[in-house]
Symmetry: C2
Subunit: 120 residues, 2 copies
């Protein structure tokens, strides 16, 4: 999961993923889409993506064709759902109850300082 997220946390690599999202693209064609950086740099990005399982490679004669492997994002999707859907539901429920659950470690707290500024 770390490897996957670190791979995706780079704008160039996300752009590459979008390039290979619709079908196979040769390494050179990918590199040509990034005139601002050298071809080896793109090649290294492709290696990172491949090591993370986000793309798959297939040799075709001289060239190497890359394509997206959506399965590589499964873990990330799971984590996101865990945070997004579930987390949002839980926080929303807590908020609408107008009491923030802060009971993990009960504090002495003589006065209700907690409900003083919770209204945005």
């Amino acid at each position: 999961m770390d490897q996957t997220l670190r791979a995706v946390a780079d704008p160039t690599r996300r752009a590459i993923l979008r390039l290979v999202r619709d079908g196979e693209v040769a390494a050179g064609d990918i590199a040509r889409e990034f005139p601002a950086m050298s071809r080896p740099a793109v090649s290294q990005h492709l290696k990172v993506l491949a090591d993370a399982g986000l793309v798959e490679v297939r040799p075709d004669g001289n060239r190497r064709l890359y394509r997206l492997n959506p399965e590589g994002l499964r873990e990330v999707a799971g984590f996101l759902d865990e945070m997004w859907t579930d987390g949002l539901a839980r926080l929303k429920a807590a908020a609408e109850r107008e009491e923030w659950p802060e009971r993990a470690r009960a504090r002495k707290q003589s006065h209700p300082t907690a409900d003083k500024e919770t209204t945005p």
Copy 2:
């Protein structure tokens, strides 16, 4: 988006997000969950998460209570959907359109491999 993904691409910070997913937790209580690292380190992680908009803070007397902000993940959710759902569908369609050679012994075939078939 970069900031968000970089923030999430760290196991400690993801663990913190899980801690504050269900309600508010004080900084010290969070730090106490990571005996392997110093408290300032956790504090810095919290800053990264706050700067990325993934958590929100609220002062409560002496302490600072952190809670998840699921909205911070909206962009990531969008990107993931773009790659996951859409990407999977497109690759599948491309495969059924015969562009994706799972069985074709593509030999030299100067062009029809992958060049302009990407249908923008």
